[in-house]
């Protein structure tokens, strides 16, 4: 696995950050100067020196799109962590890659591309503006380093992009078409991506003076999400292939489901059709052969908006368990904000880490739980402190614009 998040630049740092409840949310003064109501965000602290150390010379020096950089960093970390070699052309056609992205071309790098066009200087774009802004660009640059020859593609499905990438990779392996897939997603950062969300008034605007208090999933006072960037990457492969290599196995994917509410029956561009969410959760469990009682942890979407209580109501309806038996529930978003298309893959890295290493990470800013959530979930199941505990089954969901839902069920691997 690999990860680049606002509070960590690799898996080891991320584990520590999750356990300590470390926030990566900061105030960016330049957003105030251009009249953003929400002046908070989460940018992974990647410096030029860090890029020079971890990426090939050309990518480190010349590629400016943060979404591409984050994907290359997390993808390479995942590849190395899985014990695989960097040998371009050296893996057969059953090894592929799926790297999703959201608003790839709207990363802050685009300011250097848009102005020259309008000033009649489009020739100054050079050769990199196309691959750096095409939706498949993050994967294209990552594969310029890895040189894989199987299915190389990208998905883009708003906030479910990352979890959908993993589910699609899983299904491709399950179908026998691929034996090994590097699945990742990435989102850049900055005012061009975040401005649209601020205009929609879905971002947190009441915490500019207290950045780390801004992201408050499940809180009675949630006032909007904190936008952020980053990338997560997971290498998926058949159990036989992983065991044959003696690879480190973090978790087993049991199954999952992706669907849409069709923007009907309560669903819309920005809201989920509750029946479809419930159907997605129950179908994912059926496909995985898992009963609701077996779930130890819900790794929710939970963005810190007014949608959180509705999400929890949907979980409660789908699982249909007595309140006392409601599983633990958490999300890294209180620490890292909402990485949009990067969210699903980063959060799946968190899920797999919790399974593999026996812990449940805390949620920050849960002093006042929303009353609708408190009716359904015992307070001790919304941890505000690290819980060291062996857990076997995690259900992970993301929900996205366009009324899209994606749910995955992961199980601890007994090596």
């Amino acid at each position: 696995m690999g990860v680049v998040a606002p509070n960590a630049l690799n898996v080891d740092e991320f584990r520590k950050a999750l356990q300590e409840g470390k926030s990566g949310i900061k105030r960016y003064e330049n957003l105030g100067e251009i009249n953003f109501k929400c002046q908070l965000g989460g940018k992974p602290p990647v410096t030029q020196e860090y890029k020079d150390e971890h990426l090939p010379h050309f990518v480190a020096q010349k590629v400016k799109n943060n979404a591409v950089i984050y994907a290359c960093l997390s993808g390479l970390e995942a590849w190395n962590d899985a014990g695989l070699e960097i040998k371009p052309g050296g893996y057969d056609r059953k090894t592929g890659m799926l790297v999703g992205s959201g608003a790839l071309g709207l990363d802050s790098f685009i300011e250097h591309k848009i102005y020259p066009i309008d000033q009649g200087n489009h020739r100054k774009l050079g050769s990199r503006s196309v691959p750096e802004s095409m939706s498949s660009g993050a994967g294209a640059y990552l594969n310029s380093i890895l040189g894989l020859r199987g299915r190389i593609f990208s998905n883009s499905s708003a906030c479910i992009t990352g979890s959908e990438a993993v589910l699609q990779g899983f299904e491709m392996i399950q179908s026998g078409k691929m034996e090994r897939m590097l699945c990742a997603s990435s989102e850049g950062d900055g005012r061009y991506i975040w401005g649209g969300f601020d205009a929609m008034r879905v971002l947190c605007s009441d915490s500019n003076e207290a950045p780390e208090k801004g992201s408050r999933p499940m809180s009675a006072t949630s006032s909007g999400f904190i936008p952020s960037g980053g990338s997560g990457a997971l290498v998926l492969e058949t159990l036989e292939a992983a065991q044959a290599r003696g690879a480190k196995i973090y978790a087993e994917i049991l199954g999952g489901e992706v669907n849409s509410g069709g923007q009907t029956d309560g669903g819309s561009m920005t809201a989920q059709n509750p029946q479809a969410v419930v159907d997605c959760i129950t179908t994912a469990l059926e496909r995985s052969g898992v009963a609701p009682e077996e779930i130890d942890l819900i790794a929710g979407h939970l963005t810190s908006t007014k949608g959180d209580p509705y999400e929890v109501i949907n979980w409660s309806t789908a699982l249909n368990l007595p309140k006392d038996d409601f599983p633990y529930i958490n999300t890294p978003k209180s620490m890292i904000g909402h990485c949009v298309a990067g969210a699903g893959s980063i959060e799946l890295v968190a899920s797999a880490l919790q399974l593999a290493e026996g812990f449940i990470h805390p949620n920050l800013n849960v002093e006042e739980i929303h009353p609708e959530i408190e009716k359904l979930v015992p307070l001790e199941k919304i941890p505000s402190k690290l819980i060291k505990k062996d857990i076997k089954t995690v259900i992970k969901a993301n929900f996205g614009f366009g009324d899209l839902n994606c749910v995955l069920v992961l199980r601890k691997m007994n090596n």
Binding site: P56, H57, F58, Q61, K62, R123, K124, G126, S127, R128
Partner: protein, 83 residues
Amino acid sequence: MDREAIKKDLLAIIDPYIDEKELTTEISESSDLINDLMINSAHLVDIVLDIEEKFDIMIEDDFIGKMDTVGDALDIISEKIAG
């Protein structure tokens, strides 16, 4: 600006575009950018833009076709600087 000084700046500009670092020890004026230094041809336009920025000159598209070797690039830059 003498030719050696220009060459030093030029080599710094093309360095990131050379994948095979062992090639950088053998660069001479006769080195062909694409065939000897194995630079991706798509990156020639980037090298031209980097040169324009570094030396504050403008290199028209006609010249890009003539810039086959390191020496060619030095000729073009020298000529443009001289105005």
